[in-house]
Symmetry: C2
Amino acid sequence: MRLTQGFIPTIKETPNEAQIASHRLMLRAGLVRQTSAGIYAWLPLGLRVLRNIERIVREEQDASGAQELLMPTIQPAELWRESGRYDDYGAEMLRIQDRHERDMLYGPTNEEMITDLFRQSVRSYRELPKLLYHIQWKFRDEVRPRFGVMRGREFLMKDAYSFDLDHAGAVVSYRKMMLAYMRTFQRLGLKAIPMEADTGPIGGDLSHEFIILAPTGESQVFYDAAFEEIDYLARGAGGFRHDSAADLERFFREMTSHYAATDEKHDTVKWDAVAPERRREGRGIEVGHIFYFGDKYTKAMNATVTGPDGKQVHPEMGSYGIGVSRLVGAVIEASHDDAGIIWPESIAPFRAAILNLKPGDAACDAACAKLYDALGADALYDDREDRAGVKFNDADLMGHPWQLVVGPRGAASGKIELKRRASGERVELTPEDALTRISAGVDRRA
Amino acid sequence: MRLTQGFIPTIKETPNEAQIASHRLMLRAGLVRQTSAGIYAWLPLGLRVLRNIERIVREEQDASGAQELLMPTIQPAELWRESGRYDDYGAEMLRIQDRHERDMLYGPTNEEMITDLFRQSVRSYRELPKLLYHIQWKFRDEVRPRFGVMRGREFLMKDAYSFDLDHAGAVVSYRKMMLAYMRTFQRLGLKAIPMEADTGPIGGDLSHEFIILAPTGESQVFYDAAFEEIDYLARGAGGFRHDSAADLERFFREMTSHYAATDEKHDTVKWDAVAPERRREGRGIEVGHIFYFGDKYTKAMNATVTGPDGKQVHPEMGSYGIGVSRLVGAVIEASHDDAGIIWPESIAPFRAAILNLKPGDAACDAACAKLYDALGADALYDDREDRAGVKFNDADLMGHPWQLVVGPRGAASGKIELKRRASGERVELTPEDALTRISAGVDRRA
C-alpha cells in the first residue's frame, strides 16, 4: 500500500485518554479510533493485525479438529432464561428489546446458543466428540471501559465449545484446546503461561487461564522456566500431536506439574521448592481462559444423546475463549519500545516499510518502485513528500519488522539501508540482498 | 472434512416455515439454523459459502483501490442526531440503552460513523479521493422477517463510502464501484443488471441498484441482451480498468445506454424501441445498491478539507452496499433444482464430495483415502455408514460442483464415477483422471 493512498492517520502527540502503552500506541499509529466509550473502529493498519491474529487462532483451532461456525451477535433472552443465567448475569449484559418488545441481548458468550444448536441436531454418542467454535464480536457493558481494546465493551472473541459423552472424553477435548492455545500464543510471538484458575460465573471444576508475559502487564506472575523452554510447535519425538491421547497427556502433565501463579494466588512455600535457577518472575496479561463444566448446560437445557446402552445421556461440555481483539493490545504491551510498536513477523500489518527519502529523485523513485513491485501487499510504501525524520519516526511507531530506507546518495550507487525494527540493526546493501534477507525472516512454521 | 466428524445436519423433510427455495435448501442442507426471528447461526457449510462470497467481494473492493477498515456494530445515537437521521429512521433501527442510559443503536448502515472518522483525520484535498469500506454485521428490525437470510434482521453487508473533492471526482468513484460490483457478481457466477433507482432514505441524486437473475426472483425484469454479453473480467482492449477514467466512462456508458427496468418502472414505449431479438425478460433479486449524495453528510456533520485555493470544502460522498449474507440466498435462488443447490465453483463450500458407497471395503476405503489426500480441504468425504441413496441425495442437496462416487465394483477395477452436479453428466474414469478434470474446472480468473 502506498501511504499517500492509505488511511493511516498517525498522531504525534500522546493522547490524554490513554493510560497504557498499547492504547497510546494504537491511537498514535492509527490502528484504531474510539467511537463510543470502550468501542473502537479498526482502521486499515489495525484491521490487518486483527485479521492476522484471527487467522492464526483459526488455523490452530482447525488443526485441533474444531469445526468453525458463526453464531449471531443478538440472542433471544429465552435461551438464557432456560440456563438460569439471564437474571444472574448482571449489568454487564447489554439487554435489548426489539420492536415487538421481545427481550434480546448482545451475546457476551455463547454456551446457551451452542447447546441449543447441538440439541437440535446431534442424536447419538456416535456423533461425539464435537468441538465447535466461532470468532464473533461480543459485548460486555463494562462499567468503566478503559485500556483501549484491552478492556473494551465490543470485542472480538474466539469461543469454542466441546461436547463429549463422558468425563474422560471431555478431558481429552480440554487438553486439545490447551495445546491449541499454547501453539497459538507461540506463533503470535508471545510467551504464555497456563495457570490454574477459579471457574467464575461460567461455573465448573477444571479451569485454566493463559497469561502472556509483558513488562507492562496487569499482574505479577511467578513461574518455572519450563514454560519458556517448551517448543509447542515442535514436530517429531518431542512434539505434541492433537490426535494422540498419550501426547496430550504428556503435554498436560508438563503444563500442570511446574509452578505458575499470579500474585493473588502465589504460594511462597511451593515457590521455595522451585530450584532457584528455574524461578522466573514477570508481569502478565490474561488473554485466554478454558473451562470444563460437565453437564451444567446440557442438563439445564435438556440436551441429550443416545448412549451406547440406548439410554439418554447429557453430554459433558467445556468452553474455551481467546480474546482476539484484546491480543492486539497484549502483543503491543509485550513488544514495544519508546519509539513505538515492534510487531512479531507473524502478525505485522506489513512485513516491511519502504521509505523513499526523496520522492521525485529518479534513482530513489526507481529503487522504491522495484522494491514495492517485489514485495507487493507485504509492503507499506512511504511515498509522502515529507521530511526524512517524519518517515523514520512513523515507521518506528507503526512497528514494521523491516525498514527499507532509500536515500538519494545510496540509490545512485545501487545501495539501500535495511533496518531491523526489533534490534535496531542497520546494514547497507543492494536491494536484491535486502529482499532476500526479508523473505528469510518469515516464520513459516505454521 | 470427513462428514462423520463435521457438523452438517441435513434434514430430509421440507421445513414448514420456509416459503422460498433458498430458505428451504439452506435449512435442509444444514447451512444455517434460525436462532430468533430473522436471525441465523451459520453452520460450517453455510459459513464456508459466506466466507467465499466475502472473499470475492473483498478482492474486488481492494482491486478498485478501496481501503478496508472495520467499524463496530454498536453506534452512539449522537452521531445520528448530528445527521438528523436518529428520529427519521423509524422502527427498523434497533435502539439500545447501555447501563449508563446512554442512547446507542445497532448500526443499520454507517454514513455517519465514516463521516466522523473522516473528519477526525483528513485535512487536505491532497488526501482525496478516499474510498473506504468494511464488511460488518448490521441490524434492521424488520417487522416481518422472512425468506431466511434474504430478509433477515442481522445480516452481513459490505458498505463502502467515497470522499471526493468535487462532483467530477465523485462520479469517478461511483463508476469504479459500479465496475467492482459487476466484476464481483460475474465472479459469483451471477448475471447482474444495474438499474437506475430511487435514492430512498439515504438521499441523493444518482443511484443504481443491482438485480441478479433468478427464476424465483421477487420482481420481473426487462433488459437488453447487452448485459449478458459483456465480460466484466476481460483484460486487454475490450476490458475495463479501474484506474483509467476513459475505461470507466466507456463502462458507465455501457451500463446506462441499454434498457433495463423492473416491472415497477417498466416503460413500454422504450421497451418497444429495443430490437426484439435483444429483449430479455426474467425474474430478479436486488443484491446491491449504490448512491451518490454529494455533501449531505459532510455538511450536516461539518466535515471539511482544505481545497487547492486554501478554502474549506465539504467533500462529496457516495455509499455502496452489497448484501453479503443475502447473496448466499440469492445465489441459491439463481442456481438450484429439485434435488438441491448447485454451487458455482467460485463459492462452493467444497469443490467435490467423495462418496464412499461401502465404508469397510478395502478397495473403496483405499480409493477414497487417495482422493481425500489429493483434494484435502477442498473435499467433503462422506464416510458415513449409510445407504448409497442417502449419500447421493445429500450430495445433490449440498450442491458440491463435483461428486466422486466410489463403489466396490469400480474400486476393484481401478475406476470411480465422476458426476458434474450442474449438468448431471456422469463418467467412469480412473481417480487420477477424475482429479485432473476437477482441477481444470476451477475459475482462476480472479
